[in-house]
């Protein structure tokens, strides 16, 4: 009996130990360590196979922890690659590129040096660099070989190499390889490290889309409000719509999936039953302001200033002549819906096909069948006919303005024929989940300008950055001989399929200096490996 118990205890100990070891961190790679403001940063993220989250967030933060810009990428096969436009307005200094997932407190951070395109490096010839950190160690793989690469190349020379992967490594590779050729400053290397944040780990896993969460409170008491109806709408030709009914804690959650780029989002809340003044607020996802590494002053290598100035000039030239570094791929076409969430309308009216009418009262009287709009005593009312029962619904219908639900009819009453593209009417009781609507009146404006809807305590308007679409590096030089080719990144292939021999080709640019070819990958046990080859272009 005792032996059995001891064995069980030992087993539990092993389980705990195994769980502790599961905390693998994300690995982050950027095309360079030093950038000029206005350039595009290319990055690749490898996520541990155990990671449940489907989205990785990559933010550029300054030394105080303030987020400057950021992207969200979909994790496919435990990897993601993307790009970040570095704003032209950035002051010269050290910045941190931080990757995180909702389900983990471990953040992988890569330090970068960004020099302002117009001001260059500081006159002190020194800058702050993270200190007291434990850099992420990666092992150079000896077996991986880059065949045929030379130590010196001329400008605009075609380079042919073969990447040879030994069979044992090939079997053990998880996912794709990254191959990058870019200019480096050998004496200046920025570290990659991990930080354990005190952010409250979310129990919601963003498998398929971004999770927006927040709280509804009563405006007067600031207490969480139970039973509030929260709408999320995405204005579109077929508007997106979701709802959530809050419980005791007043919290609400929405998942936005299958959207790419930047989308307008409107979130609003109402009390159910008795009218109450409510306030809605989104939870700030960025709570890492106080978890920053220490920084210490470091002097720059002697060559850095010269190279940064040259690169700034090169960037200005590329911008003047509109030489784009990357081409953003069109977002995947996803047919989210085949008909509006409020159903197939009973009637669709285009007011512009009729005589010009000055306001909505006139439009409803003359053009809208089964719609009773009255604006007596400055309190407009609206009713829709129930076509099945041949009487008017007692409750007002769901009014949508460019797909956004609204209860304020005052801004609609002034809309004339010229302002309205089309009006859709549903003359039946519609159900969406557990919600019921006594008729629908959907107004689509000509300008699709939902700024008419005012942001109030119970309504938030956002321009939300959702999943970033894929991009490819424009690695072919300019075809015109007299046009300088000022590319610093000669090759960026973040999703290269592993094979025994992989031919790699690229053309050097007019930039002279030290270049690095790096091949990076991940093995099935979660560890990263790389192979780098340095060469000069002159």
């Amino acid at each position: 009996m005792k032996r059995k118990i001891k064995t069980l205890l030992l087993f539990l100990l092993i389980v705990f130990a195994g769980k502790a070891q599961e905390q693998l961190s994300i690995s982050l790679f950027t095309d360079r360590d030093v950038y000029i403001s206005g350039e595009t940063l290319l990055l690749k993220v490898d996520v541990p196979a155990t990671e449940k989250s489907g989205i990785v967030s990559i933010d550029l933060i300054n030394q105080t922890g303030k987020k400057i810009t950021g992207i969200l990428k979909e994790i496919v096969n435990h990897e993601a690659d993307g790009y970040i436009y570095l704003p032209d307005s950035l002051t010269s200094g050290c910045y941190l590129l931080r990757t995180s997932v909702k389900t983990s407190n471990i953040q992988t951070i890569k330090a970068l040096y960004i020099s302002n395109r117009f001001n260059g490096l500081p006159l002190t010839n020194s800058g702050l660099q993270p200190a007291g950190i434990t850099p992420v160690k990666e092992v150079q793989n000896i077996g991986l070989q880059v065949k045929g690469i030379q130590n010196h190349y001329k400008t605009r020379e075609k380079v042919h190499t073969d990447l040879q992967i030994p069979a044992d490594l090939l079997e053990n590779i998880d996912g794709n390889l990254l191959v990058n050729v870019s200019e480096i400053i050998p004496e200046f290397k920025t570290p990659e490290f991990t930080l354990n944040s005190n952010r409250q780990k979310s129990t919601l896993v963003d498998h398929e889309g971004i999770i927006l969460e927040g709280t509804v409170t009563e405006l007067r008491t600031a207490k969480p409000f139970k039973n509030a109806l929260v709408y999320l709408s995405i204005p579109d030709s077929l508007p997106g719509f979701q709802y959530y009914i809050t419980s005791d804690d007043g919290r609400f959650y929405f998942q936005i999936k299958n959207y790419y780029g930047k989308i307008p989002v409107v979130i609003q809340c109402y009390s159910r039953g008795q009218e109450q003044l409510l306030k809605i607020a989104l939870t700030d996802q960025d709570s890492l302001k106080h978890l920053m590494p220490m920084f210490e002053q470091q002097s720059f290598p002697p060559d850095l200033r010269k190279k940064v100035e040259r690169n700034a000039d090169a960037l200005t030239y590329r911008k003047v002549f509109n030489q784009q570094e990357i081409t953003v791929q069109p977002s995947p076409v996803i047919r989210r819906d085949i008909y509006p969430f409020y159903g197939i309308p009973t009637n669709v009216v285009d007011p512009q096909l009729f005589i010009d009418l000055p306001n909505f009262t006139e439009i409803s009287r003359e053009l809208l069948p089964g719609v009773k709009f009255r604006a007596f005593n400055r309190i407009p009312t609206l009713q829709v006919l129930n076509s099945a029962q041949f009487n008017y619904f007692t409750d007002p219908p769901l009014v949508l303005f460019d797909g956004i639900p609204t209860r304020d009819l005052n801004f609609i009453k002034e809309m004339g024929s010229k302002d309205i593209d089309k009006i859709e009417i549903c003359q039946n009781e519609r159900f969406f989940g557990d919600l019921s609507f006594q008729g629908i009146l959907a107004i689509y404006s000509t300008k699709a300008d939902y700024s008419r809807i005012p942001a109030t305590d119970n309504l938030i308007k956002l321009n939300l950055d959702v999943l970033q679409p894929q991009a490819v590096l424009n690695d072919l030089p300019s075809q015109e001989v007299n046009n300088p080719d000022l590319r610093q990144v000669l090759l960026w292939k973040p999703l290269l399929k592993p094979g025994q021999v992989i031919p790699i080709e690229f053309i050097t640019s007019d930039i002279q200096g030290t270049f690095r070819m790096i091949v990076r990958g991940k093995t099935k046990d979660g560890s990263n490996f790389y192979k780098e080859q340095i060469f000069e272009v002159n």
């Binding site: 539990l12 129990t203 919601l204 159903g343 009781e429 159900f431 019921s436």
Partner: protein, 239 residues
């Protein structure tokens, strides 16, 4: 004594593990991020003899949306009269007709425990449009039935409230053989109806299968059985 302490400590550790795993689950409603059912309120059908529904009551089933997402454990009832699927929303105590456009199909277990699978398909024959077909047998060539109930005139009768009526619901089921490349082929539920789908030479083989399995194709059940046996023997079907 030591054993008792050890067992208590193991129980405590296991309890801790269990509570941690529970903590990981949010107090969110189970369907907070699932696709929502869309539809309209059910308008009662004419109250006459017969039943407009396939089943006598709402039965637990599953619906599948166009994007493949499924919602299970909901109360469903198929209206043969209107070819629509009705679900009972327990939260708002309402019978809702689910938008046909939003569904790929649905299934439920009938009173006998038999799984009934319905698939939405476009019918290009007379009265074309999307219809819910019950899948009796699936494969390259599927055996489908359109369980239509019509409102037919009949001999006058007095209903429960004493009103004189001359209408009643009459089943008018249509059976089809369907393949994605050849479309629909109407089939009668009879031995001759089934044999007509085969060449003269193959009909002998089909008849042999009937004899061997002591089958007399007279109703829907025996027809399905016969069809499945023929399908297994891979005899070429003409349609």
């Amino acid at each position: 004594m030591i054993n008792r302490i050890l067992i208590t400590s193991i129980a405590a550790v296991l309890g801790l593990l269990f509570s941690l795993s529970l903590k990981a689950q949010d107090k969110l409603p189970a369907n907070w991020n699932t696709e929502k059912i869309r539809g309209t309120r059910l308008i009662p059908y004419p109250s006459v003899n017969g039943s407009p529904y396939l089943t006598g009551k709402f039965l637990p089933g599953e619906i599948e949306f166009m994007d493949g997402e499924k919602i299970g454990e909901i109360n469903l009832r198929y209206s043969s009269y209107r070819d629509e699927i009705i679900y009972y929303n327990t939260t708002i105590s309402t019978q809702i007709v689910i938008d046909k456009m939003s569904l790929k199909g649905f299934s439920f277990k009938d009173e006998d425990g038999t799984l009934r699978i319905f698939r939405k398909q476009y019918y290009n024959g007379f009265m074309s449009g999307n219809r819910y077909f019950e899948v009796l047998s699936d494969g390259d060539i599927a055996l489908l039935v359109y369980r239509k109930v019509g409102l037919e005139t009949c001999s006058p009768y007095n209903d429960e409230s004493g009103k004189l009526k001359n209408l009643e619901y009459q089943p008018n089921y249509s059976y089809y053989l369907y393949s994605s490349d050849k479309g629909y082929s109407f089939v009668r539920i009879s031995k001759s109806g089934l044999l007509s789908k085969f060449d003269k030479a193959d009909q002998i083989l089909v008849k042999k299968i009937f004899r061997k399995n002591h089958l007399s194709v007279a109703d829907e059940v025996s027809f399905i059985k016969a069809w499945n046996l023929i399908r297994e023997s891979r005899i070429k079907v003409n349609f």
